[in-house]
Symmetry: C2
Subunit: 317 residues, 2 copies
Protein backbone atom coordinates (compact mmCIF):
# COMPACT_ATOMS: atom_id res chain seq x y z
CA UNK A 1 0.00 0.00 0.00
CA UNK A 2 1.39 3.37 -0.96
CA UNK A 3 2.05 5.69 1.94
CA UNK A 4 0.34 9.06 1.71
CA UNK A 5 3.38 11.18 2.48
CA UNK A 6 1.58 14.52 2.20
CA UNK A 7 -1.03 13.48 4.72
CA UNK A 8 1.63 12.20 7.12
CA UNK A 9 3.53 15.49 6.82
CA UNK A 10 0.38 17.52 7.47
CA UNK A 11 -0.36 15.48 10.59
CA UNK A 12 3.27 15.74 11.77
CA UNK A 13 3.22 19.51 11.27
CA UNK A 14 0.16 19.59 13.51
CA UNK A 15 2.20 17.81 16.19
CA UNK A 16 0.80 14.27 15.80
CA UNK A 17 3.38 12.06 17.54
CA UNK A 18 2.49 8.92 15.58
CA UNK A 19 2.92 10.70 12.27
CA UNK A 20 6.28 12.06 13.46
CA UNK A 21 7.43 8.56 14.44
CA UNK A 22 6.30 7.14 11.10
CA UNK A 23 8.18 9.82 9.15
CA UNK A 24 11.32 9.28 11.24
CA UNK A 25 11.24 5.59 10.37
CA UNK A 26 10.78 6.38 6.69
CA UNK A 27 13.76 8.71 6.49
CA UNK A 28 16.12 6.78 8.77
CA UNK A 29 16.00 3.62 6.76
CA UNK A 30 16.69 5.36 3.49
CA UNK A 31 13.36 4.08 2.23
CA UNK A 32 12.34 4.70 -1.38
CA UNK A 33 10.04 7.42 -0.04
CA UNK A 34 12.87 9.31 1.69
CA UNK A 35 13.25 11.78 -1.16
CA UNK A 36 9.51 12.35 -1.37
CA UNK A 37 9.36 12.89 2.41
CA UNK A 38 12.21 15.39 2.33
CA UNK A 39 10.53 17.38 -0.46
CA UNK A 40 7.20 17.41 1.36
CA UNK A 41 8.85 18.53 4.61
CA UNK A 42 10.79 21.42 3.08
CA UNK A 43 8.05 24.09 3.37
CA UNK A 44 7.69 23.34 7.08
CA UNK A 45 11.36 23.55 8.02
CA UNK A 46 14.11 26.00 8.86
CA UNK A 47 12.80 27.28 12.17
CA UNK A 48 14.16 24.96 14.89
CA UNK A 49 17.40 25.74 16.68
CA UNK A 50 19.55 22.62 16.43
CA UNK A 51 21.68 22.08 19.53
CA UNK A 52 24.41 19.44 19.52
CA UNK A 53 25.51 17.89 22.80
CA UNK A 54 28.68 15.85 22.89
CA UNK A 55 31.33 14.67 25.34
CA UNK A 56 33.04 11.52 26.58
CA UNK A 57 31.00 8.64 28.00
CA UNK A 58 30.14 9.13 31.65
CA UNK A 59 30.00 12.93 31.78
CA UNK A 60 26.21 12.94 32.05
CA UNK A 61 24.98 13.73 28.56
CA UNK A 62 21.60 12.00 28.96
CA UNK A 63 21.02 13.69 32.32
CA UNK A 64 21.76 17.20 31.10
CA UNK A 65 19.78 16.62 27.92
CA UNK A 66 16.76 15.75 30.04
CA UNK A 67 17.33 18.82 32.25
CA UNK A 68 17.65 21.10 29.22
CA UNK A 69 14.43 19.66 27.80
CA UNK A 70 12.72 20.53 31.09
CA UNK A 71 14.08 24.09 30.97
CA UNK A 72 12.78 24.67 27.45
CA UNK A 73 9.44 23.10 28.37
CA UNK A 74 9.17 25.50 31.31
CA UNK A 75 9.25 28.30 28.73
CA UNK A 76 6.46 26.57 26.81
CA UNK A 77 8.63 25.54 23.88
CA UNK A 78 8.32 22.34 21.92
CA UNK A 79 11.45 20.18 22.01
CA UNK A 80 12.84 17.32 19.95
CA UNK A 81 15.62 14.99 21.08
CA UNK A 82 17.68 12.91 18.70
CA UNK A 83 19.86 10.55 20.72
CA UNK A 84 22.52 9.04 18.52
CA UNK A 85 22.95 5.63 20.09
CA UNK A 86 25.28 2.83 19.25
CA UNK A 87 23.65 -0.27 17.91
CA UNK A 88 25.35 -3.40 19.03
CA UNK A 89 24.03 -6.93 19.29
CA UNK A 90 25.04 -6.71 22.94
CA UNK A 91 23.51 -3.38 23.73
CA UNK A 92 19.83 -4.16 24.06
CA UNK A 93 19.23 -4.51 27.74
CA UNK A 94 22.33 -2.89 29.11
CA UNK A 95 21.73 0.54 27.66
CA UNK A 96 18.10 1.03 28.43
CA UNK A 97 19.11 2.61 31.74
CA UNK A 98 20.36 5.71 30.01
CA UNK A 99 17.18 6.41 28.20
CA UNK A 100 15.20 5.96 31.37
CA UNK A 101 16.42 9.39 32.41
CA UNK A 102 14.27 10.77 29.61
CA UNK A 103 11.17 9.03 30.95
CA UNK A 104 9.95 12.15 32.74
CA UNK A 105 9.26 13.62 29.29
CA UNK A 106 7.84 10.47 27.73
CA UNK A 107 4.21 11.44 28.16
CA UNK A 108 4.66 15.12 27.28
CA UNK A 109 2.97 15.72 23.89
CA UNK A 110 5.36 18.61 23.21
CA UNK A 111 8.49 16.49 23.52
CA UNK A 112 9.60 14.14 20.72
CA UNK A 113 12.38 11.72 21.60
CA UNK A 114 14.08 9.47 19.10
CA UNK A 115 17.04 7.14 19.50
CA UNK A 116 18.95 6.61 16.32
CA UNK A 117 21.53 3.86 15.80
CA UNK A 118 24.94 5.26 14.97
CA UNK A 119 25.46 2.63 12.31
CA UNK A 120 23.60 0.31 10.10
CA UNK A 121 22.39 3.16 7.93
CA UNK A 122 23.64 2.79 4.41
CA UNK A 123 24.49 6.47 4.23
CA UNK A 124 25.68 6.68 7.81
CA UNK A 125 24.93 9.39 10.33
CA UNK A 126 25.67 12.09 7.79
CA UNK A 127 22.67 10.86 5.85
CA UNK A 128 20.26 9.93 8.60
CA UNK A 129 20.71 12.80 11.04
CA UNK A 130 19.71 15.73 8.81
CA UNK A 131 16.70 13.75 7.57
CA UNK A 132 15.53 13.13 11.13
CA UNK A 133 16.23 16.76 12.08
CA UNK A 134 14.03 17.90 9.24
CA UNK A 135 11.13 15.78 10.50
CA UNK A 136 11.41 17.18 14.05
CA UNK A 137 11.75 20.71 12.70
CA UNK A 138 8.61 20.28 10.60
CA UNK A 139 6.82 18.89 13.67
CA UNK A 140 7.06 22.36 15.15
CA UNK A 141 9.96 21.86 17.53
CA UNK A 142 11.49 25.15 18.64
CA UNK A 143 14.65 23.33 19.65
CA UNK A 144 16.08 19.97 18.62
CA UNK A 145 18.79 18.51 20.83
CA UNK A 146 21.17 16.10 19.11
CA UNK A 147 22.93 14.04 21.75
CA UNK A 148 25.76 11.69 20.83
CA UNK A 149 26.80 8.75 22.95
CA UNK A 150 30.35 8.62 21.67
CA UNK A 151 32.83 11.19 20.43
CA UNK A 152 33.82 9.40 17.25
CA UNK A 153 34.67 11.24 14.10
CA UNK A 154 31.32 10.67 12.40
CA UNK A 155 29.41 11.77 15.50
CA UNK A 156 31.58 14.89 15.78
CA UNK A 157 31.04 15.76 12.14
CA UNK A 158 27.29 15.57 12.58
CA UNK A 159 27.28 17.60 15.80
CA UNK A 160 29.76 20.18 14.53
CA UNK A 161 27.18 21.57 12.10
CA UNK A 162 24.46 22.04 14.71
CA UNK A 163 23.46 25.68 15.16
CA UNK A 164 24.94 25.60 18.67
CA UNK A 165 27.26 22.97 20.11
CA UNK A 166 27.56 22.10 23.78
CA UNK A 167 30.69 20.20 24.80
CA UNK A 168 30.09 18.47 28.11
CA UNK A 169 32.88 17.55 30.51
CA UNK A 170 33.18 16.28 34.05
CA UNK A 171 35.82 16.92 36.68
CA UNK A 172 38.57 14.46 37.47
CA UNK A 173 38.72 12.62 34.18
CA UNK A 174 41.70 14.47 32.72
CA UNK A 175 38.88 15.74 30.64
CA UNK A 176 40.55 18.68 28.98
CA UNK A 177 43.14 16.38 27.51
CA UNK A 178 40.56 13.78 26.52
CA UNK A 179 38.45 16.45 24.83
CA UNK A 180 41.48 17.65 22.93
CA UNK A 181 42.24 14.05 21.95
CA UNK A 182 38.75 13.55 20.68
CA UNK A 183 38.99 16.77 18.69
CA UNK A 184 35.89 18.27 20.26
CA UNK A 185 37.42 21.38 21.82
CA UNK A 186 37.21 23.47 18.69
CA UNK A 187 33.61 22.59 17.89
CA UNK A 188 32.22 23.82 21.23
CA UNK A 189 30.13 26.99 21.26
CA UNK A 190 29.70 26.48 24.96
CA UNK A 191 31.49 24.24 27.41
CA UNK A 192 29.72 22.77 30.40
CA UNK A 193 31.54 21.15 33.31
CA UNK A 194 28.88 18.86 34.73
CA UNK A 195 28.98 17.09 38.10
CA UNK A 196 30.32 20.37 39.44
CA UNK A 197 29.69 19.24 43.03
CA UNK A 198 32.68 16.95 42.66
CA UNK A 199 36.28 17.80 43.46
CA UNK A 200 38.20 19.39 40.67
CA UNK A 201 35.30 21.06 38.84
CA UNK A 202 36.84 24.53 39.09
CA UNK A 203 40.24 23.32 37.94
CA UNK A 204 38.67 21.49 34.98
CA UNK A 205 36.83 24.70 34.08
CA UNK A 206 40.09 26.68 34.33
CA UNK A 207 41.89 24.13 32.17
CA UNK A 208 39.17 24.35 29.51
CA UNK A 209 39.13 28.18 29.63
CA UNK A 210 42.85 28.12 29.10
CA UNK A 211 42.68 25.65 26.19
CA UNK A 212 39.79 27.47 24.56
CA UNK A 213 41.66 30.74 24.95
CA UNK A 214 44.65 29.26 23.10
CA UNK A 215 42.63 28.15 20.14
CA UNK A 216 42.15 29.99 16.90
CA UNK A 217 38.38 29.94 16.46
CA UNK A 218 36.83 30.06 13.04
CA UNK A 219 33.84 32.00 14.39
CA UNK A 220 35.78 35.09 15.40
CA UNK A 221 33.91 37.22 17.87
CA UNK A 222 32.24 34.53 19.97
CA UNK A 223 34.08 33.62 23.13
CA UNK A 224 32.71 30.23 24.23
CA UNK A 225 31.59 30.41 27.86
CA UNK A 226 32.59 27.67 30.30
CA UNK A 227 29.69 26.91 32.65
CA UNK A 228 29.27 24.67 35.70
CA UNK A 229 26.24 22.43 36.24
CA UNK A 230 24.93 19.65 38.44
CA UNK A 231 22.48 18.33 35.88
CA UNK A 232 21.05 15.64 38.17
CA UNK A 233 19.72 18.47 40.39
CA UNK A 234 19.13 20.86 37.44
CA UNK A 235 21.66 23.28 38.94
CA UNK A 236 23.10 25.68 36.40
CA UNK A 237 20.89 24.40 33.58
CA UNK A 238 19.02 27.70 33.20
CA UNK A 239 22.41 29.29 32.62
CA UNK A 240 23.06 26.82 29.80
CA UNK A 241 19.73 27.66 28.16
CA UNK A 242 20.47 31.39 28.46
CA UNK A 243 23.90 30.84 26.90
CA UNK A 244 22.17 29.01 24.02
CA UNK A 245 19.90 32.03 23.54
CA UNK A 246 22.90 34.36 23.51
CA UNK A 247 24.75 32.16 21.05
CA UNK A 248 21.77 32.03 18.72
CA UNK A 249 21.42 35.80 18.84
CA UNK A 250 25.11 36.29 18.15
CA UNK A 251 25.16 33.68 15.38
CA UNK A 252 22.16 35.13 13.54
CA UNK A 253 23.60 38.65 13.78
CA UNK A 254 27.12 37.73 12.73
CA UNK A 255 26.22 35.49 9.84
CA UNK A 256 27.65 32.41 11.60
CA UNK A 257 24.14 30.94 11.64
CA UNK A 258 23.87 30.98 7.85
CA UNK A 259 27.41 29.69 7.44
CA UNK A 260 26.70 26.71 9.68
CA UNK A 261 23.41 25.94 7.88
CA UNK A 262 25.11 26.20 4.51
CA UNK A 263 27.73 23.70 5.69
CA UNK A 264 25.01 21.43 7.07
CA UNK A 265 23.21 21.46 3.73
CA UNK A 266 26.45 20.79 1.85
CA UNK A 267 27.26 17.83 4.10
CA UNK A 268 23.76 16.46 3.65
CA UNK A 269 23.75 16.77 -0.13
CA UNK A 270 27.13 15.08 -0.32
CA UNK A 271 26.01 12.26 1.97
CA UNK A 272 22.93 11.61 -0.16
CA UNK A 273 24.96 11.69 -3.37
CA UNK A 274 27.62 9.34 -1.96
CA UNK A 275 24.90 6.97 -0.79
CA UNK A 276 23.52 6.87 -4.33
CA UNK A 277 27.00 6.02 -5.58
CA UNK A 278 27.41 3.26 -3.00
CA UNK A 279 24.08 1.81 -4.05
CA UNK A 280 25.45 1.61 -7.59
CA UNK A 281 28.59 -0.11 -6.25
CA UNK A 282 26.42 -2.70 -4.58
CA UNK A 283 24.58 -3.43 -7.79
CA UNK A 284 27.84 -3.97 -9.73
CA UNK A 285 28.72 -7.66 -9.89
CA UNK A 286 31.08 -10.08 -11.58
CA UNK A 287 34.83 -9.53 -11.96
CA UNK A 288 34.40 -5.77 -11.80
CA UNK A 289 31.94 -5.86 -8.92
CA UNK A 290 33.20 -5.10 -5.43
CA UNK A 291 33.39 -8.76 -4.44
CA UNK A 292 35.38 -9.89 -7.45
CA UNK A 293 37.71 -6.91 -7.22
CA UNK A 294 38.29 -7.51 -3.50
CA UNK A 295 39.33 -11.08 -4.30
CA UNK A 296 41.87 -9.81 -6.81
CA UNK A 297 43.29 -7.22 -4.42
CA UNK A 298 43.39 -9.58 -1.43
CA UNK A 299 45.26 -12.18 -3.47
CA UNK A 300 47.73 -9.56 -4.72
CA UNK A 301 46.91 -9.72 -8.44
CA UNK A 302 45.44 -6.20 -8.65
CA UNK A 303 46.28 -2.97 -6.88
CA UNK A 304 43.43 -1.18 -5.07
CA UNK A 305 43.53 1.98 -7.19
CA UNK A 306 43.15 0.02 -10.41
CA UNK A 307 40.33 -1.88 -8.70
CA UNK A 308 38.61 1.37 -7.75
CA UNK A 309 38.82 2.61 -11.33
CA UNK A 310 37.18 -0.59 -12.56
CA UNK A 311 34.46 -0.34 -9.94
CA UNK A 312 33.68 3.22 -11.00
CA UNK A 313 33.61 2.20 -14.66
CA UNK A 314 31.26 -0.67 -13.89
CA UNK A 315 28.84 1.37 -11.83
CA UNK A 316 28.14 4.35 -14.03
CA UNK A 317 24.53 5.51 -13.80
CA UNK B 1 61.03 16.91 -9.54
CA UNK B 2 59.46 13.56 -10.17
CA UNK B 3 59.78 11.09 -7.34
CA UNK B 4 61.33 7.77 -8.26
CA UNK B 5 58.71 5.56 -6.65
CA UNK B 6 60.32 2.26 -7.64
CA UNK B 7 63.61 3.22 -6.03
CA UNK B 8 61.82 4.36 -2.85
CA UNK B 9 59.95 1.07 -2.68
CA UNK B 10 63.13 -0.95 -3.14
CA UNK B 11 64.82 0.98 -0.33
CA UNK B 12 61.77 0.61 1.92
CA UNK B 13 61.63 -3.12 1.25
CA UNK B 14 65.25 -3.27 2.41
CA UNK B 15 64.19 -1.62 5.66
CA UNK B 16 65.39 1.95 5.00
CA UNK B 17 63.50 4.06 7.56
CA UNK B 18 63.71 7.28 5.56
CA UNK B 19 62.25 5.62 2.49
CA UNK B 20 59.45 4.18 4.62
CA UNK B 21 58.68 7.62 6.08
CA UNK B 22 58.68 9.19 2.62
CA UNK B 23 56.27 6.58 1.26
CA UNK B 24 53.97 6.97 4.25
CA UNK B 25 53.77 10.71 3.57
CA UNK B 26 53.03 10.08 -0.09
CA UNK B 27 50.14 7.71 0.57
CA UNK B 28 48.64 9.51 3.57
CA UNK B 29 48.15 12.77 1.75
CA UNK B 30 46.44 11.15 -1.21
CA UNK B 31 49.20 12.53 -3.39
CA UNK B 32 49.00 12.10 -7.17
CA UNK B 33 51.59 9.32 -6.77
CA UNK B 34 49.46 7.32 -4.30
CA UNK B 35 48.18 4.96 -6.99
CA UNK B 36 51.67 4.45 -8.40
CA UNK B 37 53.02 3.77 -4.90
CA UNK B 38 50.28 1.22 -4.18
CA UNK B 39 50.98 -0.62 -7.43
CA UNK B 40 54.73 -0.69 -6.77
CA UNK B 41 54.21 -1.96 -3.22
CA UNK B 42 51.87 -4.82 -4.18
CA UNK B 43 54.56 -7.45 -4.88
CA UNK B 44 56.09 -6.85 -1.45
CA UNK B 45 52.91 -7.14 0.58
CA UNK B 46 50.56 -9.66 2.15
CA UNK B 47 52.84 -11.06 4.81
CA UNK B 48 52.43 -8.88 7.92
CA UNK B 49 49.92 -9.77 10.62
CA UNK B 50 47.80 -6.69 11.20
CA UNK B 51 46.76 -6.31 14.84
CA UNK B 52 44.18 -3.70 15.82
CA UNK B 53 44.19 -2.31 19.35
CA UNK B 54 41.22 -0.31 20.53
CA UNK B 55 39.52 0.71 23.75
CA UNK B 56 38.28 3.78 25.61
CA UNK B 57 40.67 6.63 26.43
CA UNK B 58 42.66 6.00 29.59
CA UNK B 59 42.83 2.20 29.50
CA UNK B 60 46.52 2.24 28.56
CA UNK B 61 46.56 1.60 24.81
CA UNK B 62 49.89 3.35 24.21
CA UNK B 63 51.51 1.54 27.12
CA UNK B 64 50.42 -1.92 26.04
CA UNK B 65 51.27 -1.18 22.42
CA UNK B 66 54.81 -0.36 23.50
CA UNK B 67 55.00 -3.51 25.64
CA UNK B 68 53.70 -5.67 22.77
CA UNK B 69 56.30 -4.14 20.46
CA UNK B 70 58.98 -5.10 23.00
CA UNK B 71 57.66 -8.67 23.17
CA UNK B 72 57.75 -9.09 19.38
CA UNK B 73 61.20 -7.51 19.25
CA UNK B 74 62.41 -10.01 21.85
CA UNK B 75 61.50 -12.71 19.30
CA UNK B 76 63.56 -10.89 16.69
CA UNK B 77 60.54 -9.77 14.64
CA UNK B 78 60.20 -6.46 12.83
CA UNK B 79 57.26 -4.36 14.01
CA UNK B 80 55.29 -1.44 12.64
CA UNK B 81 53.03 0.79 14.69
CA UNK B 82 50.32 2.93 13.18
CA UNK B 83 48.90 5.18 15.89
CA UNK B 84 45.67 6.74 14.71
CA UNK B 85 45.77 10.08 16.46
CA UNK B 86 43.29 12.89 16.47
CA UNK B 87 44.44 16.05 14.83
CA UNK B 88 43.20 19.10 16.56
CA UNK B 89 44.61 22.61 16.51
CA UNK B 90 44.82 22.26 20.27
CA UNK B 91 46.46 18.89 20.45
CA UNK B 92 50.05 19.69 19.57
CA UNK B 93 51.79 19.99 22.92
CA UNK B 94 49.31 18.29 25.17
CA UNK B 95 49.37 14.91 23.50
CA UNK B 96 53.07 14.41 23.03
CA UNK B 97 53.15 12.72 26.41
CA UNK B 98 51.40 9.67 25.07
CA UNK B 99 53.83 9.06 22.30
CA UNK B 100 56.74 9.41 24.70
CA UNK B 101 55.90 5.91 25.92
CA UNK B 102 57.03 4.69 22.53
CA UNK B 103 60.42 6.41 22.88
CA UNK B 104 62.13 3.23 24.03
CA UNK B 105 61.68 1.92 20.51
CA UNK B 106 62.53 5.17 18.72
CA UNK B 107 66.11 4.21 17.92
CA UNK B 108 65.39 0.56 17.04
CA UNK B 109 65.88 0.14 13.28
CA UNK B 110 63.41 -2.75 13.27
CA UNK B 111 60.54 -0.70 14.66
CA UNK B 112 58.61 1.74 12.47
CA UNK B 113 56.25 4.09 14.30
CA UNK B 114 53.86 6.43 12.57
CA UNK B 115 51.18 8.69 13.99
CA UNK B 116 48.35 9.31 11.60
CA UNK B 117 45.78 12.03 12.01
CA UNK B 118 42.28 10.62 12.25
CA UNK B 119 40.94 13.32 9.99
CA UNK B 120 42.02 15.82 7.45
CA UNK B 121 42.46 13.06 4.89
CA UNK B 122 40.16 13.55 1.95
CA UNK B 123 39.27 9.88 1.91
CA UNK B 124 39.28 9.51 5.67
CA UNK B 125 40.77 6.71 7.71
CA UNK B 126 39.25 4.10 5.41
CA UNK B 127 41.48 5.44 2.68
CA UNK B 128 44.64 6.31 4.56
CA UNK B 129 44.99 3.33 6.90
CA UNK B 130 45.23 0.51 4.34
CA UNK B 131 47.69 2.58 2.29
CA UNK B 132 49.93 3.07 5.31
CA UNK B 133 49.57 -0.61 6.29
CA UNK B 134 50.75 -1.61 2.85
CA UNK B 135 53.90 0.51 3.22
CA UNK B 136 54.77 -1.04 6.60
CA UNK B 137 54.01 -4.52 5.26
CA UNK B 138 56.32 -3.96 2.31
CA UNK B 139 58.99 -2.66 4.71
CA UNK B 140 59.23 -6.21 6.04
CA UNK B 141 57.23 -5.83 9.23
CA UNK B 142 56.14 -9.19 10.61
CA UNK B 143 53.47 -7.46 12.65
CA UNK B 144 51.79 -4.08 12.29
CA UNK B 145 49.92 -2.75 15.32
CA UNK B 146 47.12 -0.32 14.54
CA UNK B 147 46.30 1.61 17.69
CA UNK B 148 43.33 3.96 17.82
CA UNK B 149 43.02 6.81 20.28
CA UNK B 150 39.25 6.93 20.19
CA UNK B 151 36.50 4.39 19.73
CA UNK B 152 34.57 6.29 17.10
CA UNK B 153 32.74 4.57 14.30
CA UNK B 154 35.37 5.26 11.66
CA UNK B 155 38.17 4.04 13.93
CA UNK B 156 36.20 0.91 14.75
CA UNK B 157 35.54 0.18 11.10
CA UNK B 158 39.23 0.41 10.34
CA UNK B 159 40.27 -1.74 13.29
CA UNK B 160 37.52 -4.32 12.75
CA UNK B 161 39.18 -5.56 9.57
CA UNK B 162 42.60 -6.10 11.16
CA UNK B 163 43.69 -9.75 11.12
CA UNK B 164 43.41 -9.83 14.92
CA UNK B 165 41.67 -7.29 17.13
CA UNK B 166 42.57 -6.59 20.75
CA UNK B 167 39.92 -4.78 22.79
CA UNK B 168 41.56 -3.17 25.81
CA UNK B 169 39.68 -2.39 29.02
CA UNK B 170 40.53 -1.29 32.52
CA UNK B 171 38.87 -2.07 35.84
CA UNK B 172 36.52 0.30 37.55
CA UNK B 173 35.33 2.27 34.56
CA UNK B 174 32.04 0.45 34.06
CA UNK B 175 34.04 -0.69 31.11
CA UNK B 176 31.90 -3.56 29.96
CA UNK B 177 28.99 -1.21 29.50
CA UNK B 178 31.15 1.44 27.84
CA UNK B 179 32.59 -1.15 25.45
CA UNK B 180 29.08 -2.29 24.58
CA UNK B 181 28.06 1.34 24.03
CA UNK B 182 30.99 1.95 21.76
CA UNK B 183 30.11 -1.18 19.80
CA UNK B 184 33.54 -2.74 20.24
CA UNK B 185 32.57 -5.93 22.06
CA UNK B 186 31.76 -7.88 18.93
CA UNK B 187 34.94 -6.91 17.08
CA UNK B 188 37.34 -8.26 19.75
CA UNK B 189 39.32 -11.41 18.97
CA UNK B 190 40.91 -11.05 22.36
CA UNK B 191 40.01 -8.93 25.35
CA UNK B 192 42.64 -7.57 27.69
CA UNK B 193 41.84 -6.09 31.07
CA UNK B 194 44.82 -3.83 31.68
CA UNK B 195 45.82 -2.19 34.99
CA UNK B 196 44.97 -5.56 36.53
CA UNK B 197 46.73 -4.57 39.77
CA UNK B 198 43.78 -2.30 40.48
CA UNK B 199 40.63 -3.25 42.35
CA UNK B 200 37.91 -4.75 40.25
CA UNK B 201 40.07 -6.29 37.52
CA UNK B 202 38.70 -9.78 38.10
CA UNK B 203 35.11 -8.59 38.15
CA UNK B 204 35.64 -6.62 34.93
CA UNK B 205 37.10 -9.75 33.35
CA UNK B 206 34.10 -11.79 34.54
CA UNK B 207 31.70 -9.17 33.19
CA UNK B 208 33.40 -9.25 29.79
CA UNK B 209 33.49 -13.07 29.72
CA UNK B 210 29.78 -13.03 30.40
CA UNK B 211 29.00 -10.44 27.72
CA UNK B 212 31.23 -12.15 25.16
CA UNK B 213 29.56 -15.47 25.98
CA UNK B 214 26.17 -13.94 25.27
CA UNK B 215 27.14 -12.65 21.85
CA UNK B 216 26.55 -14.35 18.55
CA UNK B 217 29.95 -14.24 16.92
CA UNK B 218 30.33 -14.19 13.18
CA UNK B 219 33.58 -16.16 13.41
CA UNK B 220 32.08 -19.32 14.86
CA UNK B 221 34.67 -21.51 16.49
CA UNK B 222 36.92 -18.91 18.07
CA UNK B 223 36.17 -18.15 21.69
CA UNK B 224 37.84 -14.80 22.45
CA UNK B 225 40.05 -15.12 25.54
CA UNK B 226 39.90 -12.49 28.27
CA UNK B 227 43.40 -11.80 29.62
CA UNK B 228 44.77 -9.67 32.45
CA UNK B 229 47.81 -7.42 32.11
CA UNK B 230 49.75 -4.71 33.89
CA UNK B 231 51.25 -3.26 30.75
CA UNK B 232 53.34 -0.65 32.57
CA UNK B 233 55.31 -3.55 34.11
CA UNK B 234 54.93 -5.79 31.03
CA UNK B 235 53.03 -8.31 33.16
CA UNK B 236 50.85 -10.64 31.11
CA UNK B 237 52.03 -9.20 27.79
CA UNK B 238 53.69 -12.44 26.68
CA UNK B 239 50.28 -14.07 27.14
CA UNK B 240 48.76 -11.50 24.79
CA UNK B 241 51.38 -12.21 22.14
CA UNK B 242 50.78 -15.95 22.49
CA UNK B 243 47.05 -15.39 22.13
CA UNK B 244 47.75 -13.41 18.95
CA UNK B 245 49.75 -16.37 17.63
CA UNK B 246 46.91 -18.74 18.46
CA UNK B 247 44.36 -16.47 16.82
CA UNK B 248 46.44 -16.19 13.67
CA UNK B 249 46.81 -19.97 13.51
CA UNK B 250 43.09 -20.49 14.00
CA UNK B 251 42.16 -17.76 11.51
CA UNK B 252 44.42 -19.09 8.75
CA UNK B 253 43.13 -22.62 9.28
CA UNK B 254 39.46 -21.73 9.46
CA UNK B 255 39.40 -19.34 6.53
CA UNK B 256 38.59 -16.37 8.77
CA UNK B 257 41.94 -14.88 7.78
CA UNK B 258 40.98 -14.74 4.10
CA UNK B 259 37.48 -13.49 4.88
CA UNK B 260 38.88 -10.60 6.91
CA UNK B 261 41.41 -9.72 4.19
CA UNK B 262 38.73 -9.86 1.54
CA UNK B 263 36.63 -7.43 3.59
CA UNK B 264 39.64 -5.18 4.13
CA UNK B 265 40.28 -5.06 0.40
CA UNK B 266 36.61 -4.35 -0.33
CA UNK B 267 36.57 -1.49 2.19
CA UNK B 268 39.74 -0.06 0.71
CA UNK B 269 38.55 -0.23 -2.89
CA UNK B 270 35.28 1.43 -1.94
CA UNK B 271 37.08 4.17 0.01
CA UNK B 272 39.32 4.94 -2.95
CA UNK B 273 36.38 4.96 -5.36
CA UNK B 274 34.31 7.23 -3.09
CA UNK B 275 37.28 9.57 -2.73
CA UNK B 276 37.47 9.82 -6.51
CA UNK B 277 33.77 10.70 -6.57
CA UNK B 278 34.23 13.34 -3.88
CA UNK B 279 37.06 14.86 -5.88
CA UNK B 280 34.64 15.19 -8.78
CA UNK B 281 32.10 16.84 -6.47
CA UNK B 282 34.73 19.36 -5.44
CA UNK B 283 35.45 20.24 -9.03
CA UNK B 284 31.78 20.83 -9.84
CA UNK B 285 30.93 24.52 -9.56
CA UNK B 286 28.18 27.03 -10.31
CA UNK B 287 24.50 26.47 -9.51
CA UNK B 288 24.92 22.71 -9.66
CA UNK B 289 28.18 22.67 -7.70
CA UNK B 290 28.06 21.77 -4.03
CA UNK B 291 28.25 25.38 -2.89
CA UNK B 292 25.42 26.63 -5.05
CA UNK B 293 23.25 23.65 -4.20
CA UNK B 294 23.89 24.08 -0.47
CA UNK B 295 22.70 27.69 -0.77
CA UNK B 296 19.47 26.52 -2.39
CA UNK B 297 18.85 23.82 0.22
CA UNK B 298 19.76 26.06 3.18
CA UNK B 299 17.36 28.73 1.94
CA UNK B 300 14.59 26.17 1.44
CA UNK B 301 14.19 26.49 -2.34
CA UNK B 302 15.47 22.99 -3.14
CA UNK B 303 15.19 19.68 -1.33
CA UNK B 304 18.44 17.83 -0.60
CA UNK B 305 17.62 14.77 -2.70
CA UNK B 306 16.99 16.86 -5.80
CA UNK B 307 20.23 18.68 -5.00
CA UNK B 308 22.13 15.38 -4.76
CA UNK B 309 20.78 14.31 -8.15
CA UNK B 310 21.97 17.56 -9.71
CA UNK B 311 25.39 17.20 -8.09
CA UNK B 312 25.74 13.68 -9.48
CA UNK B 313 24.67 14.86 -12.93
CA UNK B 314 27.19 17.72 -12.84
CA UNK B 315 30.11 15.58 -11.73
CA UNK B 316 30.04 12.72 -14.18
CA UNK B 317 33.53 11.53 -15.13
Amino acid sequence: MAIDVDSLVERAAAGDARAVARLLSLVEDASPQAAEVAAALMPHTGRAQVVGITGSPGVGKSTITSAIVAAFRARGQRVGVLAIDPSSPFSGGALLGDRIRMQEHATDPDVFIRSMASRGHLGGLAWATPQALRVLDAAGCDVVLVETVGVGQSEIEVVAVADSVIVLLAPGMGDGIQAAKAGILEIGDLFVVNKADRDGAESTAREIRHMVGLGQRVDGGWQPPVLLTVASRSEGVDGVVEALDRHREWAVGSGAWLTRRHQRAADEIEAIALTRVRQRFERASGDNGLDGLADAVASGTLDPFAAADRLLGESRP
